[in-house]
Amino acid sequence: MFGKLTWDAIPFNQPIPLITSLVILLVIAALAIWVWRKGWWPYLWNEYITSTDHKRIGVMYIVLALVMLVRGFSDALMMRAQQSLAIGASQGYLPPEHYNQIFSAHGTIMIFFVAMPFVIGFMNFVVPLQLGVRDVAFPTMNNVSFWLTASGVLLVNLSLVIGEFARTGWLGFPPLSEKAFSPGVGVDYYLVALQVSGVGTILTAVNFVTTILKTRAPGMSYMRMPIFCWTALASNLIMLAAFPVLTATLGLLMLDRYLGFHFFTNDGGGNSMLYMNLIWVWGHPEVYILVLPAFGIYSEVAATFSGKPLFGYRSMVFATLAICIISYCVWLHHFFTMGAGADVNAVFGIASMIIGIPTGVKIYNWLFTMYGGRVRFTVPMYYLIGFMLTFVVGGLTGVLLAIPPVDFVVHNSLFLVAHFHQVIIGGVVFALMAGYTYWFPKAFGFTLDERLGKAVFWCWFIGFHLAFMPLYVLGLWGGTRRMQHIADPTWAPWLNVALVGAVIIGLGIVLTVVQLLYSIQTRDRRRDVTGDPWDGRTLEWLTLSPPPHYNFAVLPDVHGEEAYWTRKQTAIKLDRLIEEPDYQPIEMPLNTPIGVIVAFFASVCGFAIIWYIWWLAILGLIGAFAVLVWYSWQDEHEHIIPVEEVRANARERRRVRMEHLQELSQST
């Protein structure tokens, strides 16, 4: 009846996961009751959960990512603590089977459920605004994508309470992840959660490539698109072509585990190196899925806060697309030790180094954007500068790793761990924090506190270097990754420094929460009334903060690069706004519960597959299909916003803008 599911699945004898899950359940229950007591459920349901508004969906993605950041970071702290404690005679506090689950969950969560939703959240929020349109190409599907991602999150976290998580690392390499060596449900949790959220990601990619290529404001040709949109396009093209490979690869491993196939097994002619190749054909481009939009954020920040157009816009576009393509030609550098031979390794080593060239172009472009500009040292700018310092070093250690003989020495060592954390924290996380500060006023209508923001930056910057520089040293000494116990006591000082670094990063995360709460409390002092708090250059700053559901009363007409900057400067020069246009009623997509319902069935079906409850899995599939048919039978998917409402909102915006314009002309 319930497959493999019994009471033994709940970890009554393991205090750490048991207490953690109890606390999490209590917090969720308390939050739900608090929201209910406040009477906010209808608001949440109508304005967020069922929303098809790209801005709201973007905010939900980012909230999801921040919550999961706390989860993934807790895993990181536990690992650092274990490695500081379990030295020499001491065994620390985490037994090996638990420690292995923690490092697997840390990697899985940080990549799939922190970095990915964070990046996708920004693309959701920013891209349609920057393109000067009202929503993405497929708003309802956007909602479904989000909830499928949330379903994956739910399944991963469920493994804490019911059963166990994978002990096989964040990519689940066979033959360890095969049934013979991992008979439990841990790997199944991993596989199913990633399959469900992977479908969401592919749909997102379809949505954004279509949006960027087919729906842009009048006059916005390719070479007039803001650079963030270019990087989002490149990132989504990679997603579109890489994520199906992940789906296929994980699907093959599922067939091995569930039906006894022989793709990656040791017997029956299976070939586990095939898995390495397939998973890294997805895995390496994945790095660029994350880092290209990060580069886009830095570009927007650099131009805005230097008060200059981005230096070398065209070379930036070219570099982005070059990275987009070369990212597919380097996957083998993750396993030079496979033994493919000197020639193959040389090709992939050189290809990996070549990626450094367009990346270098970008670094110089940001530097030259700042050069000669009126640089305002705001929080996003701190992150940009911190990023350039950190990322260049991380890139250089990457070039070291791209040399096959060097890689043979440091393969799977802490040197590698330090390298990829340096590029992902220094490259991606810093960008996400910069973007969070930069676009927060656009989303909520008030800015975040600047002093606390700078404190957060210093915590990340100092904490990161303390946490990971020691790992380079230990890696060069021969320290392998994922060690539950350290035999050599001379490593202790380095590991303790790393622990201190992790604690400082933790302080930064706490301060982020403090910053948010403090900024909400003092929001009346920091309102963004003009919609353009940073003196921005792209179209998202044209509309109000927060923007109306339809973003723009009339789609802006784009003349030249930097659509909004040109328009703003002309208005200042002529001392008047654009003529009031002829407003029209606007057709917008209706809210829909379809995303939540489909994700519900996907979660039920996924849970049933993990625990071998086949009747429930079939029921879940039938439910999902029935809901899709029901949805396709509806006739009304749009509603009309009356012209009076559009006109009233637009006039209010014009009045605000007019006042702002007068202030500007008085000050100059």
Binding site: A205, Y222, P244, D256, D557, L574, E579, D582
Partner: protein, 212 residues
């Protein structure tokens, strides 16, 4: 209105057309099939991973049967003909839908589905026959990859059949509304794409596999 304001962007609806389709967002009749095409492309990437797996493992027979002992060209020929014919009939259904001819649209759609069903039945019989002689997917890595590649295509055909059934009912109930016709277009894109995949399977798996 000064000319300066007109050139630098303080006017409405006067942006120059540089010939790259940037006269504002495209209509739904462009956007929807375009998005669906992208989805089909990503599906093809998924298949390409399965093809790569098959190519890697085709000789990993673990002492079990090899390709030339298992495949029957004439059976596959019938399969291929029925699937390709169903694509042609699907095209006829699209023509009829364009003319808003309910009867013929339904006839061609049902015929498309029936031909797809013929294909599927032959495939399932082939699978059952292989399992019966001990050449099931658990036998060797080669057979695992064969069943997965061909079976994944078969699963797509099954999904297509469910879609054809739903679509046929929807046209019957709602008539040729624009969004319904767009969906029909997507269905036909999907169905033709399955043909393309099948041609590759036919060549790489069956033709090469039965070379003397």
């Amino acid at each position: 209105m000064t000319s300066e304001a007109a050139t630098i962007g303080l006017t409405h609806g006067a942006s120059e057309d540089t010939g790259l389709g940037q006269r504002g967002p495209q209509s739904k009749s462009i956007v929807v099939p375009y998005g669906f095409w992208l989805f089909v492309l990503s599906d093809m990437v998924l298949f390409s991973a399965l093809f790569a797996t098959y190519a890697t493992l085709v000789h990993a027979t673990d002492g079990g049967p090899v390709t030339s002992q298992l495949f029957d060209r004439s059976l596959v020929a019938v399969e291929t003909v029925s699937l390709l014919l169903s694509s042609f009939v699907c095209g006829l259904a699209m023509v009829a839908a364009k003319r808003a001819n309910m009867v013929w649209t339904q006839v061609w759609l049902v015929l498309t589905g029936l031909l797809g069903l013929v294909f599927l039945v032959i495939e399932l019989r082939e699978f059952a026959g292989l399992v019966a002689i001990g050449a099931g997917p658990q036998r060797s890595a080669f057979l695992s990859s064969f069943f997965t590649l061909v079976g994944c295509h078969g699963a797509h055909v099954t999904a297509g059949l469910m879609w054809i059934g739903t679509m046929s009912a929807q046209i019957w109930a709602k008539g040729f509304q624009p969004h319904i016709v767009r969906r029909l277009l997507c269905l036909s894109i999907f169905w033709h794409a399955l043909d393309i995949i099948w041609v590759a399977i036919f060549t790489i798996v069956y033709l090469i596999g039965t070379l003397p």
